[in-house]
Symmetry: C2
Subunit: 494 residues, 2 copies
């Protein structure tokens, strides 16, 4: 191991600790901070981000990377992968001119603020100029990164969330889904039995107790984490100090509970990252799709299954005093797998969710390619909804204005959600083969073997493997839509 590599490990450990501090400050901002703390918190976080950015992009880091690269042969495999990840983040961070970075921060901050007003008013015209500026600068960003990475512009953005993957690979996955799902949806809706409503009063305190009980059952360790409340549920903190949040609606336990289970999947991934590489790039998650696969595996594959609901039903009765036909396992299952032509992505079910993503993916590709302009976005959105989901939003609030991603400049993010769903299905398929009587264990609320399998086959690799290679090792075949199609056929067409 060279001096240069050793010096890089020290530098990246420092960045990791700054990042860890930021994740706690971010959590505090969402969960604890009094409103008057907002301006100074923004300055604190900007300062820490700036310091980490300076460390990453400094000439010294560049020189050390070059030196270490020449002595690469002396590194162990994980060290070599670590060096690759260091180089990757350095290359991405130095790809953009400093004034473009600053312009993007300003433009996205402004657009996000305007979006927060424009969305409830359903006023796309209000957002348009700010979003145009974001798109203009994001095109510049994509061009700069494309040049630095030797990739197509949109692929260079994708690479920030799902390294290595490109539009060619995504198209192969998404286009067959876009072709298959509209008809499939029609069939499912034609045969679907409407469930009884899940009425009752669900005190937030009891929802929390039940949520924590399920988190514990799934393997969450409260010695290394907490569950609190925030406006939007998320999983933050660092692997040894995980900060999960939930939001409770006292008239509806299902939504809050499913969100807890979803975030628990993220939390288990973070907790399962290899301890000895905690503070190095190779020990951190780099694939948003893989991260999302872990939350969807828990939420969709496990927790919307009939065996899980059979385990859950008596816990619901115990926690909230509910019962009767509405809370039978049959009806709970009907609720959990209810399909609907909905307008809102975050409320979508497993069958329609991919179509929401395909729409966004097509539109943002076109925006980046200059084939679509912001002014034409609402019309394109509504056309796409009509084609893919067979419904048209009555207003932009429930249409093109619904997501925060574009005002924030997060182009290339949406596809990861759907790739995550595909990964989840394929991984769960492999787990079922590997673990005898897995469904029976889930029925009993025993998730130990499954969590162990995920640790060993997914979490423990962190960023040491490309996602494509990881999925091949964990499941056998390369990533495809097959497992997902089997899954939705089995669950929704039976």
């Amino acid at each position: 191991m060279s001096e240069a590599y050793r010096a890089l490990e020290a530098r990246f450990a420092r960045m990791s600790h700054i990042g860890g501090a930021l994740s706690i400050l971010q959590w505090d901002h969402q969960v604890m901070m009094p409103p008057g703390g907002s301006p100074v918190r923004a300055e604190q976080m900007a300062t820490l981000r700036q310091i980490a950015h300076e460390l990453l992009t400094s000439a010294e880091t560049g020189e050390l990377l070059e030196q270490a690269g020449q002595e690469n042969g002396q590194l162990e495999p994980w060290q070599a992968a670590n060096l690759r990840e260091m180089r990757r983040s350095h290359r991405r961070a130095t790809a953009m001119p400093t004034d473009l970075v600053a312009a993007l921060v300003r433009a996205t901050t402004a657009a996000e603020m305007i979006w927060r007003e424009a969305r409830p008013r359903s006023d796309f015209a209000m957002l348009r100029p700010a979003l145009e500026e974001v798109v203009r600068l994001t095109r510049e960003e994509a061009a700069a990164k494309a040049e630095a990475l030797g990739r197509a512009p949109y692929d260079a953005l994708l690479d920030g969330y799902e390294p290595g993957i490109g539009t060619a690979a995504i198209d192969v996955l998404f286009e067959p889904l876009a072709a298959f799902l509209p008809d499939f949806l029609e069939q499912v809706l034609a045969h679907q039995v409407e469930p009884l409503p899940l009425e009752g009063h669900f005190p937030a305190a009891q929802q929390k107790v039940l949520g924590e009980r399920l988190m514990r059952a799934l393997g969450f360790d409260f010695a290394n984490g907490r569950l609190d409340e925030s406006l939007h549920p998320f999983c933050g903190g660092v692997p040894d100090d995980i900060r999960m949040t939930a939001r409770y609606d006292e008239a509806d336990a299902a939504t809050g509970l499913m969100a807890v289970l979803h975030e628990t999947g993220h939390a288990l991934y973070n907790a399962g990252l290899p301890k000895e590489w905690r503070h190095q790039p190779v020990g951190k998650p780099r694939s948003f799709a893989l991260h999302e696969s872990q939350s969807l595996l828990v939420e969709m594959q496990i927790c919307r299954s009939r065996p899980f609901l059979a385990y859950l039903a008596p816990l619901l009765a115990e926690s909230f005093g509910v019962g009767g036909a509405a809370y039978s396992v049959d009806n709970l299952y009907r609720q959990a797998i209810r399909v609907e032509r909905g307008l809102i992505r975050v409320d979508a079910d497993e069958v329609t969710y991919p179509l929401h993503i395909v729409l966004r993916y097509r539109l943002e590709k076109a925006l980046l390619a200059g084939e679509l302009e912001v002014a034409d976005l609402p019309a394109a959105w509504n056309e796409g909804m009509c084609e893919l989901l067979g419904i048209v939003p009555p207003d932009d609030r429930r249409g093109v204005l619904q997501d925060i991603h574009w005002p924030r400049g997060a182009f290339g993010y949406f596809p990861c959600y759907l790739v995550g769903a595909l990964l989840a299905a394929q991984l769960f398929d492999a787990a079922i083969v590997a673990i005898p009587r897995l469904w029976q264990s889930i029925r009993r609320g025993d998730f130990g073997e499954l969590t162990d399998w995920l640790r060993k086959n997914v979490h423990a690799y962190a960023s040491s493997l490309e996602t494509t290679e990881l999925i091949r090792r964990a499941t056998g075949p390369p990533l495809s839509i097959n497992a997902f199609l089997d899954h939705i056929r089995t669950r929704y067409a039976n």
Copy 2:
């Protein structure tokens, strides 16, 4: 304003934001963090401290200070004071060789850990080697700082907590107190009427509600702060986001409540610091004695007064359903001003507290001067207790082992507590003169004018004035023990 000065402001703002981030992480550590987060939090905080230290001590900062110093004439008064404070912290931080800083961190971390075990076991021998190492290194620290600052060694340490003051000034204040108080204590004890015990059950949730109500009445703004629980009450965070903590004993409301009121005094000081200088050294508190004076002014001068207790009595009745003779204003007052020859500093009353401080001050001066060795500390402690307080600790747990300060290497800190009590008395005297019918306002729970007076005469100056100059402007005469003596004579000998 010179380029150099402008560049310094930017650098110190950056350090301020790092410090602000640290204060929130510190709060989280005490209040929120799950136990397993401890090691990684220590690394995060060490990293941020290191970055701030590097910024402060860098050659570039030194050069900018020199340049700005040559152009000093162009600065406004607050800018000039700011430059003075920058220079002060730079000089103190660069006074010590890096390896001495590191050795002290190691030694005090180890000593503090051993102290946590040795204290409950009352085992001084267990702590002795670690404390000897701390004292040895602190003597080196004092010598290094003495040389850099041109002061006597112990004075150079004092200067870290109370800039400018030295043993000569402290002796003038403390020795007359040490001469006067033992006899005075005897008199007070001879005439003291024993109060009825304050029995009852005081649910923590209601203590919190009452605490928050009193905080609000005193001027605490919950848009810029929170009240939570921790093992030891403290006031942390930053002026726009103050994090106060309390600890509740359900069998005793008085202790928890008085701690809340004490910390509220600290909080009001922080909130009152000048907004436009929030992130510059001159806008921060630099005098620990002045900070302590603000907590003692609230706790001792106001909240242990009869008018305050007359305001509080009905609130206690309302909050906890208590009443009868024990909760009469007379008895509450007797409780609030009860004097006792006690062994423990943190439980001491206003009359004996100064004697606890004088003891520590004398001992730490002797330790630093090499006139006393750690091995002889327990005997010297017990002798001093006998001389000053007329009692001898039956064991070291309740003697020399009771405080964390020395294992932590905080020599020169103790005197600030007593200087704080003197400042509090003198400031409150001036406030009474300045504010017509102040006692009547306190009786009604109206603290607005007092808080305004403190803002204007104390908080708003931040570090722009030396403490001696601030007290002269705010009260007229220079700092002395007169107001404190008047206060305790009036309160305890009537």
